[in-house]
């Protein structure tokens, strides 16, 4: 039976169990992620991090999760109340929805019922994740607008522009995977990677996806919608209590989603990694074992998210947009054309992989050679007559400056001391009077 048939056979109780498990997975992963992030970033910055609640502070997330919903809600006077209320909900629901198409494992038996560790296997599974991420942005944008103050509005605007541009890059990086698999279903994509994972077969796609997934989830170094140095808190400046907690939840669930999606698309999903896959005729790729590989890979990406946040400074907005539109999207388009051309060649004439690699190498060498022929960028001509207002206009010592020797400089220093002393004495006298 295929995946879709197995899933269609599921009784209602099994579907409910799976749905509840996915819901719990999102919430628990968020709590684990928050404490891990604080601990890891603290370690990177040579400080202990949270260390009060529980052993070594590992229960801090639980304390926060209990505390946050019970805080006072403050709704700004200028807020558009209905939209203000809806925004956190809109951002949270799609985030959880996307979990339903992620394949967590192959065929297993739950209470005697054969099934697959996945909620649904749609023929357009990949599009579900994209659709959910594009809906989730509404929450951020509406939060920014409904708060009725400028900083959230700016955050919302940034988020809208950012997600539109990075969703294009993300969607394009998936195209190559779909071309190789010949299917939009997430289960088929994992199955197609049995012969080789796509992260090395499709390196450009993988790299572009990794960049755009950070941009898509508004995480450092691309966290411009909530840039705290510029916009106070960005779109969630005016939010508090449970509503703020929902935004928090949505952000972290989104991170888990894009990481799990990346695992599915490029890292062979639930398949056992290479040395392990050799043991016992791929024994570790059956039963419940794949769940372990899947979460290992996903948590690796989540760690990279934390690592990036601890390492890189925030990008400027225009640099960020330039990276998206002028580098990622064109590079992706060129790469897709290349992939299509290669596949067409291989389908039409029986050309071996070595021929393609050699031809590609020759083309690469020629391109590098041609790039040397390009003229260097001309230096900007400075107008020497003009006195610059700033920068170069700062008084600079002349090149032929002769530094006076110590003996000549010594009396001057003495005189200065006397001056300060006399000023101090004068001030004292004044206070006495």
């Amino acid at each position: 039976m295929t995946r879709a048939q197995l899933l269609a056979d599921d009784p209602l109780w099994l579907i409910l169990i799976k749905a509840v498990a996915l819901l719990l997975l999102g919430a628990l992963a968020t709590m684990a992620m928050i404490i891990l992030e604080r601990k890891i970033v603290a370690r990177m910055q040579h400080r202990p991090g949270p260390n009060r609640v529980g052993p070594n502070g590992w229960f801090q997330s639980i304390a926060d999760a209990i505390k946050l919903p019970f805080k006072e809600q403050i709704i700004p006077d200028t807020a558009d109340r209905k939209v203000y209320f809806l925004a956190p909900i809109i951002s949270t629901i799609p985030a959880f929805l996307a979990f339903s198409v992620i394949p967590f494992g192959p065929e297993v038996s739950i209470f005697g019922e054969r099934t697959v560790l996945q909620l649904v296997d749609l023929p357009v599974g990949v599009l579900v994740v994209l659709a959910c991420s594009s809906l989730g942005v509404y929450g951020i944008v509406l939060a920014g607008w409904a708060s009725g103050s400028p900083y959230p509005l700016l955050g919302g605007l940034r988020s809208a522009a950012q997600v539109i541009s990075y969703e294009i890059a993300m969607g394009l990086s998936i195209v190559a995977v779909i071309l190789y698999t010949g299917s939009l279903s997430t289960g088929d994509i994992v199955d197609a990677q049995a012969s080789g994972w796509y992260f090395y077969l499709l390196i450009p796609s993988f790299l572009i996806y990794c960049v755009s997934m950070v941009g898509e989830t508004n995480r450092a170094p691309f966290d411009l919608p909530e840039a705290e140095s510029e916009l106070v808190g960005g779109f969630h400046t005016e939010y508090s209590s449970m509503k703020f907690a929902l935004f928090f939840l949505a952000e972290y669930v989104n991170m888990v989603i894009v990481s799990a999606f990346c695992t599915t698309l490029f890292l062979g999903g639930y398949m056992a990694p290479w040395p392990v896959s050799l043991i016992g005729d791929n024994y570790f790729n059956t039963g419940w074992w794949p769940l372990l590989w899947f979460f290992t890979k996903t948590w690796f990406f989540l760690f990279v998210f934390i690592w990036l946040r601890g390492t890189l400074p925030r990008m400027r907005y225009d640099q960020f947009m330039r990276l998206g539109w002028k580098i990622l999207v064109p590079a992706n388009l060129v790469w897709i054309v290349l992939v299509v051309a290669l596949r067409a060649f291989r389908n039409e004439a029986e050309i071996s992989a070595t021929t393609i690699l050699v031809a590609g190498g020759i083309v690469l060498v020629v391109l590098i050679g041609l790039s040397f022929l390009l003229p260097d960028r001309a230096a900007p001509d400075e107008d020497s007559d003009r006195v610059p207002v700033t920068g170069g206009g700062y008084p600079i010592p002349p090149l032929d400056l002769v530094v006076p020797d110590k003996d000549a400089a010594a009396p001057r220093r003495v005189r200065r001391k006397r001056q300060t002393a006399s000023v101090g004495a004068g001030a004292e006298k004044e206070t006495e009077q």
Binding site: S134, Y138, V141, L157, T390
Partner: protein, 276 residues
């Protein structure tokens, strides 16, 4: 009538339930979009309509169309609408002045025309067209929904498809040309040139606008900064939200600036005195 009954016979319970949930939702969204006073609310109602339509497509065994509807229309196009609406400000779109003369009349005429067209198309599809069923090789049968759509787009409907893309690209390039024509003529200034221009007086003021005031009584960014003499610095109010906050928070600003009526000496709470 016969045809309608035949159609009704093939509708399963689940499909009927989802239709009667999603259909009214879509209709309510469409009506809300027309009658909402606020432009952003209008856009949100339209999003609801599009989402309901997308879900109806999925129920009708067209998953690709349904999700593309959500990604493209709700995800990208309506997001651009919202973007523009937010850029023009919160209340700018509430203007009731008709810019186009005779707009309502023409809208009515064209609306009726469109309704006639749609009715004709639906009537024809009900009477003339014989249905093939979803299992047909050109529908969801054969290699499945997505593969069949791809096959049709890139073979039978290639020319219309390419024409549409050419139209869209022309529109995008045209918009960029119109939007960038001034900037291209002037040439983009560097940061240094801008600084010099500021100090030469080509701009309104050499420095950025003053930030908002943060006081013990209000920590909103809408609170104006105060000048040394205690009066409000009008430049510190954001142009974007001035129209709302300047009116709404007038009393608060007055009390911060100290220009409002002073509290009586025997009042316990200064604010309560005047409201009595």
């Amino acid at each position: 009538m016969l045809l309608a009954q035949q159609g009704a016979a093939t509708v399963s319970t689940g499909e009927a339930v989802s239709f009667w949930v999603l259909g009214p939702l879509a209709l309510a969204g469409a009506l809300g979009m027309i009658f909402a006073r606020n432009a952003v609310h209008s856009a949100l109602f339209l999003v609801m309509t599009m989402l309901s339509l997308g879900c109806i497509y999925m129920v009708q065994q067209a998953p690709f169309l349904g999700f593309v509807q959500i990604i493209v229309y709700t995800g990208a196009i309506m997001m651009l609408f919202l973007f523009v609406l937010m850029l023009v400000g919160r209340d700018a779109s509430d203007s009731v002045v008709e810019v186009l003369r005779g707009q309502r009349l023409w809208a009515g005429v064209l609306g009726v025309g469109l309704a006639v067209l749609i009715t004709g198309a639906v009537a024809r599809s009900l009477i003339d067209v014989t249905d093939q069923g979803l299992a047909a090789d050109t529908a969801n049968g054969g290699r499945g929904n997505v593969a069949n759509i791809g096959q049709l787009i890139f073979s039978d409907y290639l020319f219309p498809f390419e024409l549409t893309s050419a139209l869209l690209i022309t529109a995008a390039v045209g918009a960029m040309v119109l939007g960038y024509v001034n900037r291209e003529q002037r040439g983009r200034r560097t940061q240094k040139e801008l600084v010099e221009a500021r100090f030469r007086g080509e701009h309104d003021r050499p420095s950025p606008l003053p930030g908002p005031g943060v006081f013990a009584t209000a920590n909103s960014v809408a609170t104006p900064a105060l000048l040394p003499d205690g009066s409000v610095a009008p430049e510190s109010l954001s142009r974007l939200i001035e129209s709302t906050t300047a009116d709404k928070l007038a009393a608060e600003r007055e009390s911060v600036a100290g220009t409002g009526p002073a509290a009586g000496t025997r009042a316990l709470a200064p604010g309560k005195e005047e409201s009595r």
